[in-house]
């Protein structure tokens, strides 16, 4: 059979971000695939070395347009460890609250993208409609829909009044109802299952060898979640489930993400109930003592790792960012092998691509 090479990207209607794939197609099946990254490489790691810690928070927030808060959280967590400051627990709770809201927002956005790619526009609209609730909450709390700019070294910049806490709890109840309906759709809807079951399957062995993280790993049976396995306050005082599935296909990833969304709503509620009183930030010095630190957190897409080295000045000597998408991208060639050309978009959305994260 003749082989055709189908180029997808760097500019392509299927993709929201520039990345390029070369798919070798025989008949309807993909036999080989090559990927090219780097079209949105902004050199953020290098830029970090030329800016102060204060400025870097805002720079690192712009690595990702979806999970921006978790990047600043990881960075601040590392710098605070270098400084040796202990945060007021209210600050930690508010930080984690925004992290969980961001997880809900990211997963709902992703569900919409998947639904759009399989041609299920109704769910795309509903998921994004419900996501708007979370975005409104986040905008109200922080002043920005996506770039929240709430983290500072030493705490957070916003606070919750008691009235706001009560209304927030009510908003979360409505949100949970909606998320449960979407979860029901993922579990029972036939068209969605027909398009996503047995597509892009990864075995547990592959997951471990490729060092895959996040929901993709959990959908293949790897029971890992940094919030639980490396408990840092406030997560050590909260109860939550880590959903794990064994199937390893796109459907399992969808289900894991939706179950996680429900768990995140629970976590938000718990944090609002347990929110300790007190200040939301402490004063810290602008100069960070010399040292190095590795900081890890669980982002919506998996583990984020920062390595920060300080030389004692107010600028870091090195900031290394490892985003979860970069690790997960490496599995794409084995996932794309032998899939139908029509399922390529399903596989691509299944890993939750965020090219801006991967390129930095």
């Amino acid at each position: 059979m003749t082989k055709i090479i189908v180029p997808i990207g760097p500019q392509h209607p299927l993709l929201k971000e520039p990345v390029s794939f070369q798919l070798t197609v025989e008949g309807e099946h993909v036999t080989e695939s090559a990927m090219r990254l780097g079209y949105v490489h902004r050199g953020i790691e290098r830029l970090c070395q030329e800016r102060t810690y204060v400025q870097n928070i805002h720079l690192l927030e712009r690595i990702c347009g979806i999970c921006s808060h978790v990047h600043t959280t990881t960075f601040c967590q590392g710098v605070e460890a270098l400084l040796g400051v202990k945060l007021p627990s209210r600050a930690l709770y508010l930080r984690a609250l925004l992290c969980e809201l961001e997880r809900i927002h990211s997963h709902l956005l992703w569900l919409g993208v998947l639904a759009l790619n399989i041609g299920f526009d109704t769910i795309f609209m509903y998921a994004w409609h419900d996501r708007e609730v979370v975005l409104d909450i986040m905008e109200d709390l922080s002043g920005g829909r996506v770039s929240h700019a709430v983290n500072i070294v030493g705490g957070v910049r916003f606070d919750l009044t008691d009235d706001r806490r009560v209304t927030l709890l009510r908003q979360l109840n409505g949100l949970e109802e909606q998320v449960r309906i979407l979860l029901g759709v993922v579990e029972h809807e036939q068209t969605l299952q027909a398009r996503t079951r047995n597509v892009g399957r990864l075995s547990l062995e592959q997951i471990r060898r490729y060092c895959v993280v996040g929901p993709v790993a959990r959908a293949s049976g790897l029971d890992v979640d940094l919030r639980r396995d490396m408990p840092r306050p406030p997560y050590d005082g909260l109860t939550f489930q880590v959903p794990v599935r064994q199937e390893g296909d796109v459907w399992a990833r969808t289900l894991v993400r939706m179950l996680e969304t429900v768990e995140s709503v629970h976590l938000c509620r718990q944090m609002l109930d347990l929110l300790p009183p007190g200040p939301v930030s402490t004063r810290v010095s602008r100069r960070v003592p010399a040292g190095e630190v590795v900081s890890r957190t669980e982002a919506p897409r998996g583990e984020v790792v920062y390595y920060i080295r300080s030389d004692g000045s107010d600028k870091p000597a090195r900031v290394k960012v490892r985003t979860p998408t970069l690790t997960n991208l490496i599995t794409l060639p084995s996932q794309l092998e032998n899939v139908n050309m029509a399922d390529v978009s399903v596989v691509l959305s299944g890993v939750d691509l965020c090219i801006a994260c991967a390129d930095r």
Binding site: L37, G38, H41, G43, E45, R46, Q77, G78, A81, L82, R208, R209, Y210, C211, V212, V213, V224, D229, M230, R232, E292, V293, V294, S295, R296, E303, V305, Y307, R309, A317, R318, K320, R322, L326, T327, L329, I330, D359, R360
Partner: protein, 148 residues
């Protein structure tokens, strides 16, 4: 507290395994904040040490490889994770910027090594596809993160 004890115990075992494998390497261990331990090794021992970590102690997850130009040498950090973090660090002199690849038993290391190859000019021996990862097609061969 329990977790801390388990961590101490585990790292003692790992350290003695390293000592047995590399008797002539002056290993140093450093406890870092946020549940991390740094172990310094000579570059020629990195590959075997990683193998010990992955196969004997089940540190299957290589988080990333960090490269860093200190101005005197290029330092590499291999961040592993399995409930605790462990980082193997080594320093390569400018005259010999080469080290054995990990992709033969951790295929997930491929992207990190490609990135370091362009950013710092470290050659990973045995890597099957050591191509630029983020650089444009007309990359001139310079290394953005190098100090010199």
């Amino acid at each position: 507290m329990n977790r801390l004890l388990r961590q101490l115990h585990l790292f003692e075992e790992i350290f003695s395994a390293f000592q047995a494998a590399f008797p002539d390497d002056p290993l140093t261990v450093q406890a870092m904040p946020i549940d991390e331990t740094f172990v310094t090794l000579a570059p020629e021992h990195i590959h075997e040490a990683c193998e010990i970590l992955v196969e004997r102690f089940d540190f299957y997850h290589l988080s990333t490889i960090t490269g860093l130009d200190t101005g005197a040498a290029v330092e590499l950090f291999y961040h592993f994770w399995n409930a605790y973090g462990i980082t193997l660090r080594t320093a390569l002199p400018y005259t010999a910027l080469r080290i054995a690849t990990l992709t033969d038993f951790i295929p997930g290391a491929a992207f990190y090594e490609r990135e370091l190859y362009t950013m710092l000019g470290v050659v990973f021996e045995g890597h099957v596809n050591l191509q630029p990862l983020l650089q444009p097609d007309d990359w001139d061969g310079s290394h953005p993160l190098r100090k010199t």
